[in-house]
Amino acid sequence: MDIYIFTDDKKTMSLFSSLEKSRDFNVIIKPVNEYKNIIKNLEQCELVYLDILNFKDDAEIRRNLNYIQKYKKIRCGIIDTKNRLTGIAHYFHQGFCDYINSTEIHKPVTVQRINEVYDFKTCDFNIKNDSRTEHLVHEKTQGKELSWNEISEGNEYSFLLMYIRLDRQKKLKSEFGYDFIEKMTEKFEKYIEHLSGMNNGKLWNWDVNNGIILYPYSDSSCSNVITASYRFMRDTILLSNEILNSPVKLDFTIILEKGEMEYHARGMTGTTISEALNRIFHAADLMAEPGNLYIFDSLFKNIPHQINHLYVETDDFEGHGLKRLKKYNI
């Protein structure tokens, strides 16, 4: 895989020298002023680092980062050896996948780091440009995924809503006690918050063992979230053991639905008027069986064709079609 480093700084160039020994990566170092011409021709999923050292002021940095961030098909990391950026999380929300600052300038960039960067932004990009999802129906925000900066309170937007729940609370409580449940749900909430951010989502509401994540709606973001949800359910054994350190395999319920909703900063589910939100809560209470992933019919068209065969249709709920992810290893 090619890794492009756009820098004019010799010290920064040497940071990547250890990668040159790796068979897996091909490091290409280019001057910063060439990056616009080069990234136009890059293939999907390639990794690019942009050094912001010589940009003269904040406005120039912002302009250039906005420019490179538009190329969604590539992975992009920022090199900031003078710590000129603040609020780094914002850049990760925008889609950047790595950040190298002054404290890291003395450590060579390792193969492991690059592998983690690739893991952080996986080749979900394949889905975005997939011919079978290109023709999708036009929606209010289609073609443009809103960033959270563009979303303001009191206005209505299209969201992809995800309901996610840690199941079988009573059983876990009786087997392992109240402290265990409390610790587990706390870890789970933190993990979900972290995970949601990776697809431009926001954990909007949390209630004991379940939460609602909002994703600004776009066709490509829906496909990515559906794929991420499928992976989440498939990897529950790894998640239970390695992330949540549970002694038993945990079960989770996920329900995905699309809907219009007036946005309020955080979780006022009682006063928010949204049919989709109501439906998702009803489905969670009345229909969803523990350990399953459900998708409402508004999102069927967004299920990537590669994993469509892994879903089965189930009974309608409140007049809406539903699909369920098949169980595995049963």
Binding site: R23, V111, R234, D235, L238, I307, V312, Y328, I330
Partner: protein, 306 residues
């Protein structure tokens, strides 16, 4: 291993401030047999160096033998487990640990030994294993199914891409659990796990590798053929060697490699002793081929509801 003068001074102070000269020399002999403190030139043999001088000499000698980390592991052992029935409180140990973290080493909470932090560097021996010593490992052998037919039927660049994707999948999942790829033999890859719950790390890596391969076939494959792999996992003791030809001679490694044939495509096979040592929630995802309760091998395959 690169060290700073400050770190060496910290080590010297920790040694001289906590351990008597006789014990210092005995401990050093665990790593350098027949070790003796040399008498400085021009001084009679009856000259007795001070405790500080002895500590300085030992630190200098273990550094020249590249044995700093193994020596610190001995210090950890005598602090937490003891030596000749006595536990030694090592002075300035917290500062020493802080310096080690800064130099890219971590403390494995389970085994209580220092090893290299994979975020900084990934070396075959985790920065501490000594040539010729026996250690316990979990070994994982992964092999591509029908690779020779892929080589025959696709262009060189397609085969290279396929192989590089395969390597990437294995490397990512092994190294994220602090495992190491020890050698590559054609399309076979031997990975070793040594720290923490090494068996569990090996088994979880195998599960995630199979899941990643499943994803690869769905989303990312670049040729018509699907990627199919077989995995076998065994655990046991093996003499560490930097030379992979010597490593191959190890009985447990040979067994791991030969077992691979017993696994079906896209299946991981683990031996009974590995299955017994990992969490039940993990083994519950495995199946056996015999109805006996004491099967020799357990299998994992990602299979979806029909």
């Amino acid at each position: 291993m690169e060290t700073t003068a400050i770190f060496l001074k910290q080590l010297q102070n920790a040694l001289s401030g906590s351990i008597d000269p006789r014990t210092m020399i005995h401990l050093t002999r665990e790593l350098i047999p027949d070790y003796e403190i040399s008498t400085p030139d021009g001084l009679p043999e009856s000259f007795t160096p001070s405790r500080v001088d002895i500590a300085a000499q030992i630190v200098k000698d273990i550094q020249s033998h590249n044995l700093i980390i193994p020596f610190i592991n001995i210090m950890l052992r005598i602090q937490f487990i003891g030596y000749m029935g006595r536990k030694y409180k090592i002075s300035g140990f917290t500062d020493l640990l802080k310096s080690l973290y800064e130099m890219g080493f971590s403390l494995d909470s389970k085994s209580g030994v220092i090893y290299e932090n994979p975020a900084y560097r990934v070396s075959r021996n985790w920065g501490i294993l000594q040539e010729g010593n026996d250690y316990s490992f979990c070994f994982m052998w992964t092999d591509l199914v029908n690779y020779s037919s892929i080589v025959r039927n696709y262009s060189k660049s397609e085969v290279q891409k396929f192989y590089s994707d395969y390597m990437h999948i294995i490397r990512t999942n092994v190294e994220k659990r602090n495992g190491r790829i020890w050698f590559v033999d054609g399309d076979g890859i031997l990975s070793a796990f040594h720290f923490s719950d090494s068996n569990q790390s090996g088994v979880l890596s195998a599960i995630e590798i199979l899941h990643t391969v499943h994803d690869y076939n769905l989303f990312s494959k670049t040729i018509n053929n699907e990627m199919q792999i077989r995995i076998s996992i065994e655990a046991g003791s093996c003499e560490y060697s930097d030379n992979h030809e010597d490593t191959k001679k190890c009985e447990i490694i040979q067994k791991t490699i030969s077992n691979e044939k017993k696994a079906k495509p896209n299946t991981a096979m683990i031996s009974r002793n590995v299955a017994m040592s990992v969490d039940e929630m993990i083994t519950s995802c495995f199946y056996t081929e015999s109805k006996s309760t004491s099967a020799d091998y357990y299998f994992y395959k990602l299979e979806w509801e029909k």
